[in-house]
């Protein structure tokens, strides 16, 4: 832990729903304070979760129409909390996906996808999803201790 902010830090960023914009946006977010100052382990976990959440929005919520993805984070040590909002399609049955890992079958086919929600559920805490006024709102937090 290089640098723990004394006061809560809030950052907001708006991304366009395409994979290249997302890659560049996340690169910027994770190389700027406060995320660039997290321990490498926490920074890695946070980047995995955020990338998977945002990729899912690009691929599913904005399947037909493009739109914006608004990420806001509050770092109030030891909690790093995120809220991600989009105006795309709701989650199926307006519920978070289960995120089960597809069984590995050495003699059969290996899965080439379906890792996203499994990774999110493994690494993020307090996942909450709600649909409100045609918006998807996903919140979670990371434990910075």
């Amino acid at each position: 832990m290089k640098d723990i902010p004394a006061l809560p830090v809030r950052v907001e960023i708006r991304l366009e729903s395409d994979h290249v914009a997302v890659r560049e946006g996340l690169r910027h977010l994770f190389t700027s304070p406060p995320l660039c100052n997290l321990s490498p382990d926490l920074r890695g976990s946070t980047e995995i979760v955020l990338a998977e959440v945002v990729n899912n929005i690009v691929e599913h919520a904005y399947l037909y129409d493009k739109g914006f993805i608004d990420i806001s984070l509050i770092y109030a040590y030891p909690t790093l909390s995120f809220e991600i909002v989009d105006t795309g399609l709701p989650m199926p049955s307006t519920k978070l996906p289960a995120g089960d890992l597809v069984a590995l079958d050495r003699s059969g086919e290996l899965p080439e996808g379906g890792f996203g929600w499994f990774l999110i559920r493994n690494l993020a805490r307090g996942l909450e999803y709600r649909r409100k006024s045609s918006r998807n709102i996903l919140a979670f937090w990371m434990d910075a201790r």
């Binding site: 994979h19 290249v20 997302v22 890659r23 690169r27 490498p40 382990d41 890695g44 976990s45 980047e47 995995i48 990338a51 998977e52 990729n55 690009v58 691929e59 890992l101 590995l104 050495r106 086919e109 290996l110 899965p111 080439e112 996808g113 379906g114 890792f115 996203g116 499994f118 990774l119 493994n122 690494l123």
Partner: protein, 111 residues
């Protein structure tokens, strides 16, 4: 995602020059790996030491390359950085791939 390939003996060593294999580059990565692995060789070793980040799409693309090479050839990985290691460990893909901690000595690039 830029890749370079060098044949060393019977091993095709492919090095990732970019730092991310993610949703933005997964399809291009798969296509490029397919081209590079046309070279005749017994094994393919992918040097990931410059790759700081792989997401689920990137992992899926690496699995697809493994499957495309099977059953004649294996895809071996080397130099996984900590976040990449974490993705492989959590998804249990580390049990599927042969993973070297670092590039085998005889296959390192002469500087």
């Amino acid at each position: 995602m830029q890749l370079t390939a060098n044949l060393r003996g019977d091993t095709l060593v492919i090095e990732a020059l970019g730092d991310r294999i993610c949703a933005a580059s997964a399809i291009h990565f798969k296509d490029r790996m397919r081209e590079l692995t046309q070279t005749e060789c017994q094994r393919v070793l992918f040097d990931m030491s410059r790759v700081a980040f792989v997401d689920g799409s990137g992992l899926g693309a690496i699995v697809a390359v493994l499957k495309a090479l099977a059953p004649q050839r294996k895809l071996e990985l080397a130099g996984l950085t900590p976040t990449v290691q974490k993705v492989f460990r959590l998804t249990r893909m580390e049990q599927v791939f042969t993973i070297h901690d670092e590039m085998p000595q005889n296959l390192r690039y002469a500087c």
